[in-house]
Amino acid sequence: MLSGLLDGIFSGISLGSVLLLAALGLAIVFGLMGVINMAHGELMMLGAYTTYMVQNALKGTPLFGIYIFIALIAAFIVTAIFGLVLERGVIRYLYGRPLETLLATWGVSLILQQLVRSVSWQLVTIVALFCLLFFGAMWIVARRTDFERARGWFLAIMIPLSAAAAIATGNVLGTLYKPAFTKLWFDARNVDVTAPKWLRGGFPIAGTQFSYARIFIIVLTIACVVGVYWFLNNTPWGLRIRAVTQNRTMSACLGIPTKKVDALTFALGSGLAGLAGCAVSLLGSVGPNTGQNYIVDTFMVVVVGGVGKLAGSIIAALAIGTANYLIGSNTLVDLTAPIKPLSDTFAFFSTISMAKVLVFALIIAFLQFRPGGLFPQKGRTVDA
């Protein structure tokens, strides 16, 4: 009984900490820019794949024992850069249009999913060549003063032209260096990250196994939360981010470079997604759809937590994680065994997928009392 409860709480917290890690970046980005990043899950997936690649690269070297730390850094950097590109390339054109941003980032997530399925040297070459040709041409032409007028024509001509050139080159190279050049990097299959030796297994307390990997994730989450908190509250850029979160126009007037703040925040949020992906890769195999499994739950964390404070996300993530676990496992069924109808009800919901049904109902019920989440954004700007 006790061990069951202990196990339930531990697993719940560890589930919650994964959720929190995943939701942290999302919540910051949403709080600052009102942007729901549907590609957040895919950024996590990128982080997980980065971990996988770091692991493969370091296999057999003395660094392998601590590869996970290198992977964390690599995952953060890769996804942060990706986030930066995403923000500069797409999202900044869509500020103030949250629903459109949502759709656009969904498009990005589709592209990323397919990217890991079909990425090969060939594809990389094609994309790189296309960018080179297209943006090179743009760079040359854009210096002319009448560029804006001819923009449509430029796009209509240059896009097919560069695409054709890039694809043709890629195909030629592909036939020349057949197997190596066209070989898919990952394939559509899932890949496995093997945790380093010291993260395998766990230690038993009161008959429950506390897995090291999960403890590592909990510690990582705490570190990230503390780090983000410190960054937001004790650094000049953190101050700027908070200022823009509260009043964008005013901040801009006071000379805060809001564009830079936006880009930085987005990169930070994406980097956190990368860390989350790295953590997730320790829990099971990683596939192109990995991100999708987390995305809805992390959104729920943001909805329940509200965008006012970091604490909201923390409480919400732990609550949702624990609730999911307690309902989904048999813990509640056992606990309520004496009361037959109650335990029967819980038994009906006691699978992972059915638990989500009940948790969603609870969330909707919660929103009836606190529509703005635990810590709603206050002030006049809301629902003016």
Binding site: I36, G107, L110, F299, V357, L367
Partner: protein
Amino acid sequence: MDALIQSKSKARQRLLIEAGIVAAIALLLLFVIPPILVGSGQGFRVNLLGRYLALAIAALGIDLIWGFTGILSLGQGVFFALGGYSLAMFLLLQLPDGQLPDFFSPYGVTELPWLWQPFYSLPFTLFAIVFIPTIVAATLGYLVFRNRIRGVYFSILTQAALIVFFNFFNGQQKLINGTNGLKTDTATIFGQTVSSPPVQAFLYTLTILLLVGGYALSRWLTSGRSGRLLVAVRDDEARMRFSGYDPTMFKVLVFAISAGLAGIAGALYTVQSGIITPQAMNIAFSIEMVIWVAVGGRATIVGAILGTLIVNFAKSILSERFPQFWYFFQGGLFLIVVTVLPGGILGWLREDGVRLVRSQINKRRPLQTYPSLEEDPGVQYERKNLANRESDG
């Protein structure tokens, strides 16, 4: 008053023209296109066309809530599936007395679950196809809108609802065959198998008729006072309250209507594709529906239908040839439509297309002056006088 009457008769005239065009297109779809496709050896595309026209009904619903009212639902798949399952359950029960649908036996179910009982009746099924989704949407919508939860929050919640329904349907094997879904193509109706040509031809016709019905409904809803109220909800819902309107009710209403349309679409799609599975409720499909509308053009009802057909045929052709590129293409489509083509195809045609054509045939649009200048009696007077003086001198 004269002006009023005149504009009224003009409006009626326009309505007649529109009805004529719709009828002509419907007839074209009914009697001309199928023989052409069959004649050119592309007979299977008739079935595809039928399915896509069914999807277009769901797209109409999305146009109503997203295009006009500005509510983005990412959970239309729920309603689609509810409609599809309702009809599938009815079809699977078309058996001799006492028999159960086949899929029950591996699970050891020997008695028909109570959930299935009402679906023996055709009237109930028809009712269920439209009103189960409607009621589910109205309930969810009321609970959410009432608390003034909106924008992306609403979108996320509908997506969560989608996942919840997906999980529920996926997990209930003994009830509705879980992941495998319900197959309708071998079921019989009125003594014919559902996949037989006459039944399919009937369904094709029915789809077109219902699509026309859906079009008429959408047109009616978005014209006149209700249409303006929908736009008002999109523009400034809080302001409406201070004029005495309760936006919650309007939002619940359109959301429910869009769900009903999705239900009809789901039922028609199911019987034409032969199966309904929980996959109808995966996240991607529901978002895809939004992009059909976006491609065609938001808040243009024809755009929803057009967009659905274009995107889906592109999908069927592209994914036949290069399956892996479809996703790139689709992802790119989302990006392009949102960033460079926010008005969709129809929006572009209206704005830039006209201008482009004009400039090509060298007929620049006459520069418009400030409107009040044209009507200002003082200016008119001066112009006349100036002209007079010129002719004088």
